[in-house]
Amino acid sequence: MSKLFKLLSLFLAVGVVAAACSSDSSDDAGTTTAAPAETTEAPATTAVELDADGSLLDTVIARGKVHCGVSGSAVAFSETQADGSVTGFDADYCRAVAAAVLGDANAVEFVALTASERFTAVQTGDVDLLMRNTTWTQSRDSDLGMDFGPTTYYDGQQLMARVSDGFDASSTVADLDGAIVCTNAGTTTEKNIAEAAELAGADIELLAFETSDEVYETFIAGGCDITTTDGSALVGRKVKQQPADQEWVIFPATPISKEPLGPTYGQNDSVWADVINWTVYATIIMDEYGIGSSNVDDHVNDPGEVGRLLGGEGELQTVMGLSADAFYQVIKQVGNYSEIYNSNLNPVGLVREGSANAGWLDGGLIYAPPAR
């Protein structure tokens, strides 16, 4: 009997310890938000759930880091470099958002996502936004629960062929009759070219490959007459991979599909959406005024739109929940639209002049609403 009594008291002791520790842990969870406590019920440091009343903006500011979903393997848009850093057009827009929200362009954590997992990552809160060559489509906008920001790059599917086969810049899809066309398997490019060829009455043979590299290896070796994918990728491949004994040409001038690429985020969070949209608009407006990272310091006190955007008299950034100099930091640390475009896309042969990505004053589509 005494044994049993001892035993019971032992369990009582264990129970008391456990109870004490559990109440302690709930205290922890309440007070610390920066460091995860040693419980499974860790405070929401990594879980970014859209609360009914709070915006993602507050979560990101509290966390001190923007989680940005990128491809990590898209030439000139988001490349993983040899030292592990991520560079490119998309990566720079991630940095721009970090500069606007947190004042530090380097406060970004890049999360490399595959095409299939990108939207899940936004839904589960693994990333705050996507800058991952995501085309704005009706189904994604409505069905998938995504919202899209202003388009940063107007892309479109084009075709590439050899000049020696009789193609030139004025060729059209109708000239493809009887050609073998290589493309990536399982993407919309495959569907687009089939539709376009049917529309133009051309009879083509489609060859689909798993990776882009296989497509171009086959094209170089002569296994196919035409390759097709987004125009931005074709230009890069032409610059880097065109052999000395071949001449490639990209056509038609008007792409066979529209691929507007831009920031993507979860739906129904206007505060967060406004921050991202106006970060993009700020880079475009500053480009219109010709203000870049090198001369932004001279224009901080300018009157009107520039002054307001850079945090001067009548600024609206504090209304959006940002600091007054948020967009000054964007321009200073990352640059305006032209700077971001030229430093990343010029090396692969993509130029703004004459393309859809020229400013609206130069006949392009890049346009921003006024800041007032």
Binding site: P36, A37, E38, E79, D83, E109, T211, K240
Partner: protein, 602 residues
């Protein structure tokens, strides 16, 4: 039959070794084996021709001017560790150093390494030199390069030939010495040729990817130090072996080996930022309470007279452990209660005199201490900042997932196999269902499920990293297959063994632990090793779900860098080489293990 000499009454059997096959001189050997009949002559000529054509094709691929080997050389760091920050590279080398020390120590403790005859070594070098010469002639080298490589090949051949010619018949050399000499030559070459150097890039202006004076810049000094550390550890191990008893030494070295992967990973590589206040106020008190209470309980439970009451207490502990999931509390407390329950349940097996009981209690203190320490380290945020969701990638991630999956699925698989062969219907049915269910699903499905869907099934507050959830899924998958391999071994243990164990009064756990499992596992070594190699190689499926393992980096990341657009073939060849080297080492190790336990001889 004349070789066998049975000497009746005592039952001793002396077996003469089989007569040695006389060695043929080379010319006769060739005639006997390669040109013995017209058909054989045809086969020899045809296969030689095919081999030469294949060799020529491979070499002209590797040494073609179109190959961008610069992409592999420049991105070596990405391929090995993804984005581990260079100022923290000291940590990587510390890990390599620990592994070298342990290897050297183990070599000494287990007295590893056979001896090889100098003549055999000589003939090996001779043929290596000849192969180098042939390959040089096949490769599309410039004439000066051809001459240099021919000289190297001929030099090696001559050295080997002189060894064959001038060394005594029975003169031998330790394999360890040969290995150390080979490693030393390889490391010495690092000082002369700048390969593996970060700035070594072919087609463009050399650009150093690391700052001068940092560990990340070069590998020559660290590797030299590593070799010296390994040799020093070997001699230290030899010295210690003289003083300490074999068993204690072996058990402690094995324990360090098992603790090394989590410790290196979570403490050294991940560099947790410990909150000392929290550690002192919460973690250490929890450990102390559990260590003291648990040790006392176990000391009491291991009394030979504990009987039924002991079993009831163990069962109650287990129930408390499961019940703890109903109320919010620290995870570590739940884990410790469950661990204590396992110790309490197996206590009767270890009942005995005071010394055994004290040892068992001390074992509990050790295990709970290690558990507390690891859980604390894992839950503390890392100070290593890298882009991406995990602090390592590339080969390191491949190895990490493979090692953890193998280590976790081994006990799990053995338990499943025991459950499936058990006489208790509930366990048998559950285990059988689990095994058959998991074996019916492709691995890639499980990986996709655990990387994308699994986090959604967790309670709202619970977070689990992608790598952790993949290790869980992969371990479940691997344990099902492993269980079937072990079950094969279990069935090979004859009834007589079971009956003999029962006859001497062993309990079921004792019988399983000390009689059945050792024999069953010995038999299943070959399938288990091929399973491990399979687990290691199938980590390449991770590339499909977008984890930055070596294959994903080689196939998707590097070919999409502006500088190295389209350099996919070079990197895939490199990945093949890495996979082959690691898998081959594993199968070599298993061959040694088989020889050691005498598989196929007894």
């Amino acid at each position: 039959m004349s070789d066998f000499n049975v000497t009746g009454a005592e039952g001793t059997v002396s077996i003469k070794p089989p007569p040695e096959t006389p060695k043929l001189p080379p010319r006769l050997w060739i005639k006997e084996n390669l040109f013995s009949s017209p058909f054989n002559i045809f086969l020899t000529v045809a296969s030689t021709g095919i081999l030469l054509i294949l060799g020529r094709g491979l070499l002209s691929f590797i040494f073609s001017h179109e190959r961008q080997w610069g992409s592999t050389a420049t991105n070596l760091r990405l391929l090995m560790t993804q984005a581990y920050p260079e100022e923290q590279y000291m940590r990587v080398w510390v890990c390599v150093g620990v592994i070298f020390t342990l290897t050297g120590l183990s070599m000494a403790v287990w007295n590893a390494g056979s001896r090889v005859a100098l003549r055999r070594l000589g003939s090996f070098l001779l043929s290596t030199g000849v192969v180098i010469d042939i390959l040089t002639l096949l490769a599309p080298f410039s004439s000066s390069a051809t001459i240099i490589w021919l000289c190297v090949g001929t030099g090696i051949s001559l050295f080997g030939g002189s060894l064959v010619k001038f060394s005594d018949e029975d003169k031998t050399m330790s394999v360890l010495t040969v290995t150390v000499i080979a490693l030393a030559v390889a490391i010495l070459s690092l000082w002369v040729v700048p390969y593996g150097h970060h700035s070594f890039v072919f087609e463009r202006t050399p650009r150093s990817l690391a700052e001068a004076g940092t560990v990340a810049l070069t590998t020559k000094l660290p590797w030299t130090i590593m070799l010296l550390i390994g040799i020093a550890a070997y001699f230290a191990g030899k010295a210690i072996r003289e003083k300490v008893s074999q068993n204690v030494l072996r058990v402690s070295v094995l324990t360090i080996w098992f603790l090394a992967p989590p410790a290196l990973l979570y403490l050294v590589l991940r560099d947790p930022d410990f909150d000392m206040g929290h550690v002192l106020n919460t973690d250490i008190p929890i450990f102390l309470v559990f260590a003291a209470v648990g040790a006392g309980l176990l000391f009491w439970l291991t009394r030979p007279t504990a009987g039924e009451l002991g079993k009831v207490i163990a069962a109650i502990t287990l129930l408390i452990g499961f019940g703890s999931f109903l109320t919010p509390m620290r995870m570590i407390i739940r884990i410790l209660i469950l661990l204590l329950a396992i110790f309490a349940i197996s206590a009767p097996t270890f009942a005995g005199d005071t010394q055994t009981r004290r040892r068992y209690s001390l074992g509990w203190i050790g295990v709970s201490g290690v558990t507390c320490w690891l859980v604390t380290a894992i839950n503390t945020p890392s100070t290593v900042e890298v882009p991406g969701s995990f602090f390592i990638g590339g080969v390191s991630l491949t190895l990490l997932i493979a090692i953890f999956t193998i280590v976790i699925s081994f006990p799990l698989g053995i338990l499943l196999a025991l459950g499936r062969t058990s006489t208790m219907p509930i366990f048998r049915i559950l285990c059988t269902w689990f095994i058959e269910f998991v074996r019916g699903i492709p691995l890639i499905t499980i990986l996709i499920f655990f990387s994308i869907m699994f986090p959604m099934f967790l309670p709202k507050e619970m977070e689990i990293g992608e790598v952790a959830s993949i290790v869980i899924g992969y371990s479940l998958f691997s344990s099902a297959y492993l269980a079937e391999n072990v079950r094969g071994g279990l069935q090979s243990v004859t009834r007589g063994q079971h009956e003999a164990a029962d006859a001497v009064g062993m309990t079921t756990p004792q019988k399983t632990l000390f009689i059945v499992l050792p024999q069953a596992l010995r038999v299943s070594i070959p399938p288990l090793v091929s399973h491990c190699i399979g687990v290691f190689k199938e980590t390449s499926l991770l590339a499909i779900i977008g984890l930055f393992d070596i294959l994903y980096i080689a196939r998707n990341v590097i070919p999409n860098q502006t500088e190295f657009l389209g350099s996919v073939r070079e990197n895939l060849l490199f990945v093949c080489l890495i996979y082959w080297i690691l898998s081959y080492q594993m199968s070599k190790a298993s061959q040694r293990l088989e020889r050691r336990v005498g598989l196929g001889e007894r």
